[in-house]
Amino acid sequence: MVAQLVRLKLTLLVNTFRRSVWQTVGLVVASLYALGLVTTIVVAAVATGAYDPAAAGLVLTLGGALAVLGWWLIPVFLFGVDATLDPHRFVTFAIPRRTLLTGLALAACISVPGIATVLAALGSSLAWWRAPAVLPIALLSAALGVATCVVGSRAVTTALAPLLESRRYREVLAIVALAAVVLVGPAISSVMQALGVAEKEVDGSSVTVTVGGGEGLVRAAEQLAGIVAWTPFGAAWSLPATLYDGDRAAFAGRLAVALASLALLWLVWDRALARSLVTPAGGGRGSEARGLGWFGRFPATPLGAVAARCTTYWLRDPRYSGSLAIVPLLPIVLYVSGGASGVPIVLIVGPVVAWVLGFAVSNDVAYDYTAFALHVSTSTDGRTDRWGRALPVLLFGVPLVVLLVALSVVLTGRPDMLPALLGLSLGTLPLSLGVASAISSRFLYPVPKPGESPLKQPQGAAVATMVAQLLALLITAGLSVPAVGLTIWSVATGNIALGWAVLLVGPAVGIATLLVGIRIGARTYDRRAPELLQQVLSFP
């Protein structure tokens, strides 16, 4: 039975190669990427192990802990990423739970990330090739580590399944994850800065930030590894290094932690699976909203209806509201990353948000997914569809962008930049919207479907997505030249009058682009609406 489950997973993996060209390309690229990563890790581990086993032990412990963390947390946020062996599908077969558990655990290793983890773990334990006594323990600890990854991952997702099946929690989680992804960069850079600053003060010399940071980083890493090695995340991975150091007591303790946590995870998974097998998916009470909402506020015309619907989606669909939730974080991110170099990067927040908001409608029909059929069967015309999607973005985008520009000017103490930045931002919003409106009735690419995590990238989307986005980007960049050029000129010469010129030129070019873009988009839409519907229907 265990072998059958593993074979089933292998078959499923092989079958992805047959589904479509794009999926095959995606899988091949992912496999090559993973192979490259594994090779790099193994080579680096073996090389480091040759001249500095202590450093290798340190890196392996921390890297392994990071892998465990990734295995545990990523599936929670990217829910439904790997549902090929959803335990619910085995409910009707009378499979003993122990067998099912073992089979699912082994089968979980058969996927691109699974195989990569196994190879990387086993390969990097070769770092101990200079110490033959440690090597067997290293291989064993690698196996233990991988088991912690896989069983932990299953335990977490299965235990949280009741939570993850509730739409509301999924949506909140997705937005939290999106925010976390955005904040990771600045968080790391500020930690590095803090370490670098601390180092500089200790040394009292004028070492550069990177060198100082490097020294401080090693010390911090040692401390961190010391702690992590006693947690379920790092215990298994730290075993060979502990043995190498000859610390018997610590070895026994960490082995106990590793084994105990694996046993506990297995138990949690077992219990959660037992519960989920007798609890059918679905259920739960839905949320409500009174009255007509935005449909009561917009005029009762087709155009007003589309605008009301899009506004509702901007606020209620995490695929849209996620990007709105990021907007307040952007000034923080830019302020932090600009803080070190002394360049007031935060000043670009207005134009950047304007561009992002406008660009957000560049694949709107794909976001509608097959619900778009309503627009086709009601014969909604291109003008109504395009303007209806653009209007809400203009309505909340303009005040938002003005607010952000004001905030950035105050933060940096540069009121002289206000007219230029306002002009640039208020120009970029309609400009970007216009380009997006024209592009989006021509090019569609797969996006997360309604109800899926906004972080989930549909397979096979990569190349098509890049071409469409690159095209839109190039056109937007080209049309932005006058406003951006004038802004740079104004900053370079300190000429405030030029800033006022931007306030005229930017919006003028932007509004012209919006009118022309929507016209082009509407004409294409009127010609191709049924084809657009068939295209979203064909998305995998």
Partner: protein, 304 residues
């Protein structure tokens, strides 16, 4: 059962044209060359019936290697309750998609009460209410909002939309779920709200692809009653289904299609003759296996 207050558009010819035979499949060689109303070499179909609620002529559609619809010609008389039956993969959904403007045919024409759908889609679609199969709804809207959206997209004024929305919610027994988001509806409720959205503009012709799938028996009876009322007051309904019994009880006309072609069409009695519709269907479509060789399935031999 509340009447919905929906009086279908313009029709006054209940049970108009009834004819059989003429609309059986026009099989010809695969389409090639420029877009014409009929593939070259195929026998010419009669001109479209401009009085019919729906008149399909020589529809072809190819998806990659597979030809899904092969020269489909069909007339749906105004005022009829028309059933479209066929095995899975017969081309029902493809045909109905082409007949409602959701899928552009490779060849052929569709007339909705004399208006060429693919030439003048705005005008033709005004008289059509469509329930497509296998598409989602704008499910981040509440039930009320979704019906309202459909009404406003059709260009109706706010008061009419509001009163009809309330009527429809009541008729489909969705009043207590009116403020729930459609994403949280059950499959049957989703079907009902989609049907309500298709009815809001009181179309002359309703085209419903699998309207009873996943609908519970009580709701299905409700829907049948609404549709029967609608036909009685002059509307035309086309439903696709593979539940023969339902079609036989509900519809007055039926077309049996398989492999993208019409095998038989006409009134129920004309098509089924002396047989039940199901037997006639199985005869025409063929491919029924006898169930022999499952002797071990009998409980009397369960000991083996």
């Amino acid at each position: 059962m509340a009447r919905t207050g929906l009086v279908p558009g313009t029709d006054d010819r209940v049970g108009g044209h009834r004819y059989v035979g003429a609309m059986t499949a026009q099989a010809g060689p695969p389409p090639s060359g420029t877009r014409t109303s009929e593939p070259q070499g195929a026998p010419a179909a009669p001109p479209p019936d401009l009085g019919a609620a729906l008149s399909l002529r020589g529809l072809w559609k190819r998806f990659g290697e597979k030809i899904a619809v092969k020269g489909m010609s069909l007339d749906v008389p105004a005022g009829s309750f028309y059933g479209l039956v066929g095995p899975n993969g017969a081309g029902k959904t493809t045909t109905l998609s082409m007949a409602t403007g959701l899928l552009r045919p490779d060849f052929g024409t569709v007339h909705v009460r004399g208006t060429d759908l693919w030439q003048r889609p705005d005008e033709a679609k005004r008289g059509l209410g469509v329930l497509p199969d296998g598409v989602r709804l704008f499910d981040r809207l509440t039930g009320t909002q979704l019906i309202t959206y459909a009404g406003l997209l059709r260009g109706m004024d706010r008061d009419t939309v509001a009163s009809r929305t309330a009527d429809l919610l009541r008729a489909f027994d969705l009043t207590k779920d009116a403020n729930t988001y459609v994403v949280d509806y059950s499959a049957g409720m989703t079907k009902k709200i989609a049907l309500a959205s298709a009815l809001i503009h009181a179309p002359g012709t309703l085209v419903l692809d699998e309207p009873f799938e996943a609908v519970d028996p009580v709701s299905a009876a409700n829907i049948r009653e609404i549709l029967a009322d609608y036909v009685a007051s002059g509307g035309t309904v086309v439903v696709s289904s593979h539940v023969m019994d339902l079609v036989q009880r509900m519809c007055d006309h039926v077309a049996i299609i398989a492999e993208g072609q019409v095998l038989a069409a006409g009134t129920i009695d004309e098509v089924r003759g002396e047989q039940s519709l199901e037997d006639r269907f199985v005869d025409l479509v063929g491919g029924r296996s006898t169930g022999e060789g499952l002797g071990w399935l009998r409980s009397s031999s369960a000991s083996s």
